[in-house]
Amino acid sequence: MEEVDVEPAVTKIPAVSDGKHMGFAWGPGDILVYETLHKASGASGSGCSFIHEVRKDEDIYSPILRKLFNESHHIFVGLQTIREDLPSKSRKPQFVSISKNYRSVIRACMEELQQVAVSTRDGEVATQYGNQVSILLAIELIWNLCEVLFIDAAPAGSLLLHLLDWVRLHKADVDEKAREVLQSDSPAEHRDFWDVVVSYVLQGRLEEARQMLAKQATLQPAARSMYKLMDTLLSKMPFYNPGGTQTLTEFDVKWRHWHEEVDRCLQDNSFASNRHLEIICKVLLGDEDTLLEHKELLGTWYHFLVTRLLFCHPTVKPTELHYYAQSCMTMFLDSRSVPEPLDSILLAAFEFDIHQVIKDCSIALNNWWFVAHLTDLLDHCKLLQSHNLHFGSNLREFLLLEYASGLFTHHSLWQLAVDYFDNCPEFGRVYLELQIERVPLDTERKALKVLRICEQRQMSEQVRSICKIMAMRALRNNRLGSALSWSIRAKDAAFATLISERFLQDYCARGTFSDLDLIDNLGPAMLLSDRLTFLGKYREFHKLYEEKRFSEAAKLLLSLMTAKIAPRSFWMTLLTDALPLLEQKEVIFSADQTYELMYCLGELTSSLNTAAPATDRPMQEEDIELTKVELLRLALARNLAMAIVKEGTVET
């Protein structure tokens, strides 16, 4: 057995008392748990009569997160249509923009959750939504970093700029604090003033820091020159411009000059009289101790990392990142505190260990949404080629299948899952086939939607089964017409035969056809089964008879028997139907036709006599049967006589 990476979480089943045994059954997205009596025999104690449903992924049931699933489904489908054969240069911007779309959906969702969490009065709901917000925040943070490192794969120089953006986006409390300071009566004297300035510098937002400092400078005319000097230092700090003509080496030289200048200022104690400016100066030099003194303002080790890179190694290469990341994390976190899952995930990302990122995320997060979509995107970027699983097809497909199976258990989101299954080349279809048959069909409209999904994918087995379910339901409700329509749609000959049989029975019992609008309009569908053909033709005979087109009717009737379309059990009825035609004044059946009719009657009576010795049949019925045969014989004989006379007469 493989080793477990982390201890699995324990879920308490509330109603199962201690010391009892439990049984369980796996479902696609959840587990059913029930109490069992674990005794070989003679157990008579009453067990608990509940079955518990244990869900792993309960996010699927959050109404707000449903928007995330729906919107990202759209993005996912769009991503699958990006053509494989395009050169990677033109594909990369598309992938980056798709990644940004995913993130903006996460953000929108997060904002809405935040709003609800704030506005709700229910404390429990607020906590629940609050938790979801923090999960989404973490997801977005990880996704953004993956976008910078893997998808965009920025080279040295621009890499740092992207990382700065990343930190700024996720450390937005600076702006809040700045707003608070600026809105106060005298911003420069606010107690958070210097915190804001330092935070700006830590994030490399030097322009904003300068504006704040200008406010302080006006208050301290005596120290004007010192403020002026700091302002110059801040304004001169070079930033790499990836679009410009400057090479990385040129930038590096320029940056070193600036760095030395700052260092000189610190050495000659230019800022010695102002503690705050001296701190800023040390920050600009990337002084580790000073930075670590401002842990509060940095908040996280990865902010520390980015700040340190900004002021010490602005031209850091992607391959060097892991070294700095590791050291920053160790420096920042207390030796006693254990890194949280998020820390190790980010560290794994800095180490470019994509699989570790995905693995840790799968363990830490309670939904498959994130890993499935991220993995899919990374796979499209051709970053997951080398890895093989010991099971299933590949990592992407495995995660997509898990996510889609979860969706399929949802009473409403199952439709989304179909497109995910479609994009799993190896097992998607099997999963879909197994799941789609289990969608509960409450209305015909839903059945039609499910059918459409199956028909588009040529899943004929499932089409048959769905039509059969619907046909059976219609039959149970005595809706023969509907039942027949469904079996025609499924091309289910056996079932069509069964229903035609019912129609004929009804006719024999009542003497009229029901559902004429359907039977009269069978068209080519009539050929689906012999019995259905007979039903259609037999109805045609009735129509001809009603229209008094007797000879045509007679011909059709005879052919139904001679061509063996009519079932033997129905011949008696057909022959009885022939009676009124035989009794007409004019001759309708010719002599030959009459012989054939007589032959049919003979066949029927002989088979009746041999097959059924009539032991269990009541005498009365037997009598009626015999009378009928007698009547028929008489009518046939009379008709034959008339026909022979007529055919023998030369028309003058």
Binding site: P63, I64, R66, K67, N70, E71, H73, H74, V77, H411, S412, Q415, L416, D419, D442, T443, E444, R445, K446, L448, K449, R452, Q456, R476, N477, N478, R479, L480, G481, S482, S485, I488, S514, D515, L516, D517, L518, N521, L522, G523, P524, A525
Partner: protein, 372 residues
Amino acid sequence: MESINAKYVSQKISKTRWRPVSHSSLQQPDIFATGSWDNELNKISFWSIGSHGGSAMEDGFEGDPQLLCEHKHDGDVLDLQFLDQDRIVTASSTGAVTVFRHHQNSQTVSVVQHWTRAHRYPCDNAPCTGVVCSSPEIVTVGEDGRIIVFRADQEGVIRVIENADSSTIHAVTYLRTTEILTVNSIGQLKLWDIRQQSNSPSQILSLSGDRVPLHCVDRHPNQQHIVATGGQDGMLCVWDVRQGNAPFSLMEAHSAEMWEVHFHPTNPDHLFTCSEDGSLLHWETSSHSDMPSFLQGGRNSSIMSRSAMAPAGGNQSLISAWLSGDSSKGRLETSHMLPSQTLSVNSLDVLGQCLVCGTDGEAIFVNRQVSV
């Protein structure tokens, strides 16, 4: 130009309908109702698209539809029709028919009339699939093949046509005040005169031989003999119910079930269809003669203008562009109104310059600048 935006609403939308506007004013509609399906708890909801103040329009500012109020609904909402400005009728998958009232002052919804199991089998519920109303009369159809006539203000049932159809009736519309038209799942159109006591249709029209199920039907707002239907194969059929028993023209529209078809209520040269394939089409046929505007009745004044129309039926210049023969294909323009998406567009409604539609992707799209 393309001012269509999606609003995700966390429920699959089965029906969307604009609240009618009083035809005396030239107002654009501002409130619409939606019904959901396939949820554990289904709802009907009322939404506002905000004021149509001039300044907002000039800015091109398009606010999201805002939820006004909602009410739970037992079963899927299979159809939805406004009876008047405040009342709305729903058809439920439980077979129930319900009239809701939208109280606009307090923004609440209440049930004013409820017929449980209006459509049913002997021992099961039968979904009610369609409803059409002409206040106070309400006509519903269902999977049980029955047609039921109610009055909004009466508890009882006015009339039932048992066994009106041997298969499922999917949709119903009024042809005249006393005549309705139903479409069923074996490709037939049936005309019923509800004054007659007989339980059989006055006329049956059908697609020859194919038996393609028809899912939706709409009547031309001015010319009551012209009817458009859409079916399982996504074809748009235009019928002249006065002539023949086959469709006048067949047009390939969608690649899957067409769920709804609507003529524009005041500019019937425009027609809109939506489908399971996830598309929403705008059809425009250019008529050869400009119809006098007084003959183009509004949605709610249609009864009046219809009677004015009747004698003009023989007038050559008034023959609808939809019936001008095969050559009309050349002058028929279609355009997609939604960005590409894969999930079904279940319903649409168009009124004035505003169009609303709802999808299985749990999104509502509103377009306030339909060029008609």
